[in-house]
């Protein structure tokens, strides 16, 4: 969390630098079934984030010592393209992406009926093509659509969104400038039907009251995003990058 200096992140009318209200999400667009080779996929634009998620599996887990005889393992790999950020990122995993991959894997495993696929791996790949803060939330939201698109049996989708604190105010869904200069960032992921929390991180400085307020605000936002996810899944045979044909069917 940085230092905003003289920059006023919230103006006198309570609007943010990008014109949003405190509890307003950035525009979100989700498409399911956008890739040919993957078993399931989704493309998501969320503010300036552009994210692709793909699912392979259930397939045999490699190496074998990873296999769990009682259930499938969910292996999520979060990766940023070198050009997805202002200062070129060296390709390959770094400590940040290893941690994010771990917590996203844990969150996704909660909703997948892993017991149905012992010894297998369900592999989820999240590629950040363009980043604008909130990539782990965007990626997780896209990944659960890709899982559903792959036909993996799930309790429910997962929706993820962050809130933060900017210019002394609790606000929803930070974008890059707010993330750099804000006072706190709290990514959350929930199972919308049950309101269970499956991912929760926080860094910065918040009172308990601010935290509680933010959690409630974000839970509501997640329910809205849930609708977008379901729409994307409904529309997957009518829209998409190639809407003249159904590529998954065509490949069989």
């Amino acid at each position: 969390m940085g230092d905003s200096g003289d920059l006023k992140l919230i103006d006198d009318s309570g609007k943010r630098l990008d014109g949003r209200k405190l509890d307003e999400l950035r525009p979100i667009k989700i498409e399911a079934n956008v890739l040919r080779r993957a078993d399931g996929s989704a493309y998501l634009e969320w503010g300036g984030n552009k994210i692709l998620a793909a699912v392979y599996g259930p397939r045999e887990a490699h190496p074998r010592h990873l296999q769990d005889p009682t259930k499938a393992i969910v292996q999520c790999r979060y990766n940023m393209a070198a050009f997805s950020v202002m200062d070129r990122k060296r390709p390959g995993p770094d400590r940040r992406s290893v941690e994010i991959s771990k917590i996203l894997s844990e969150a996704l495993a909660y909703v997948v009926f892993t017991e149905q696929f012992p010894r297998t791996s369900i592999d989820v790949f999240i590629e950040v093509l363009q980043a604008d803060a909130g990539t782990r939330c965007s990626g997780l939201t896209a990944a659960s659509v890709a899982l559903a698109d792959a036909g993996i049996p799930m309790k429910d989708l997962i929706v993820s969104c962050a809130f933060g604190k900017v210019g002394g105010k609790v606000v929803l869904d930070l974008y890059k400038e707010e993330d750099n200069l804000g006072e706190a960032d709290v990514p959350i992921a929930v199972v919308p039907r049950t309101e269970e929390i499956v991912l929760l991180q926080m860094d910065g400085h918040l009172t308990v009251e601010e935290l509680n307020h933010g959690l409630t605000m974000t839970m509501d936002a997640c329910k809205y995003i849930y609708g977008l996810q379901r729409d994307a899944l409904k529309n997957r045979y009518s829209t998409g990058m190639d809407n003249e044909e159904n590529p998954k069917e065509a490949s069989k």
Binding site: I103, T194, I197, L211
Partner: protein, 258 residues
């Protein structure tokens, strides 16, 4: 015997106890194991502390070096945190490069210290944009009996409060105590069936469905959180955990400051 195979019986036993609000070592659900903090245990380090939480044993050492600041904070010292889950400490820790568990541990400890402004990094600037003090925190886990997050965070903070910046060794003036401004304490709670257990012992940690670490400062404000494991918490559970973490943190903080 493979220690990692917790028998179904043992698992069920812990479940049954948890339902009744009891634990294998007779602690209350919100009770920490005994905590021991010993500072100044490594004289090659600029600061060090060995922390026991029950039989979990962590050694944290601080080394101070000189280097360049980050471009976006040219007038601030640099903090880096590393954790080693060395195979001496557990049959499940493997030899080799850091894996996701040790990376997560290091990053969670780091965020707790960084986000609370524990170290006055501005006092560690030697020459703006050119030369600053670098604080290396290295966490060496020696015996793993559960709850590494809290033991490591406590060790790191204790080692920082033990640290002297060796300016004279570099011919940069007099040595001085590392300026520590805040005292963030991490408290970890796990969920076993529907019971919340603070400071999980190894067996509890293994069978728990979800874990939440809450780091609070001396004003009871929240500075960092990390949820882990493939289970879930309700919003109410999260709120309850935050409150109990605040309370216990006050007690545990005294082990460092006193």
């Amino acid at each position: 015997m493979n220690e990692e195979v917790i028998s179904e019986i043992n698992r069920n036993f812990i479940y049954q106890l948890a339902e009744k609000g009891r634990r294998i070592d007779n602690r209350a659900p919100d009770e920490f194991r005994p905590i021991g903090v010993e500072k100044g245990v490594v004289n090659t380090a600029e600061g060090s502390a060995r922390v026991h939480i029950g039989r979990t044993d962590v050694l944290a050492g601080v080394k101070i070096g000189i280097g360049e600041p980050f471009p976006d904070t040219p007038a601030k010292g640099v903090l880096t945190t590393n954790a080693e889950l060395i195979p001496l400490a557990s049959p499940t820790f493997e030899f080799g490069p850091p894996r996701e568990d040790s990376i997560e541990l290091a990053r969670v400890v780091d965020r707790g210290i960084r986000e609370s402004g524990t170290i006055d990094l501005e006092k560690l600037c030697l020459e703006e944009g050119e030369k600053v003090w670098i604080v290396f925190i290295d966490i060496h886990v020696l015996d793993y009996d559960g709850n590494l997050f809290d033991a490591s965070a406590l060790g790191a903070l204790a080692a920082l409060t033990d640290t002297t910046v060796p300016a004279s060794r570099f011919e940069l003036g007099d040595d001085f105590k590392l300026p520590v401004l805040h005292y963030p304490i991490a408290c970890t709670t796990v969920k076993v069936e529907n019971t919340l257990l603070l400071d999980p012992a190894l067996e509890e940690e293994k069978i728990a469905s979800a874990r939440l670490t809450v780091t609070t400062d001396e004003n009871k404000d929240v500075r960092a959180m990390q949820k882990g494991k493939s289970g879930s918490f309700t919003l109410d559970e999260v709120k309850k955990i935050i409150t109990s973490s605040q309370e216990v943190a006050e007690k545990n903080r005294k082990k460092i400051i006193e």
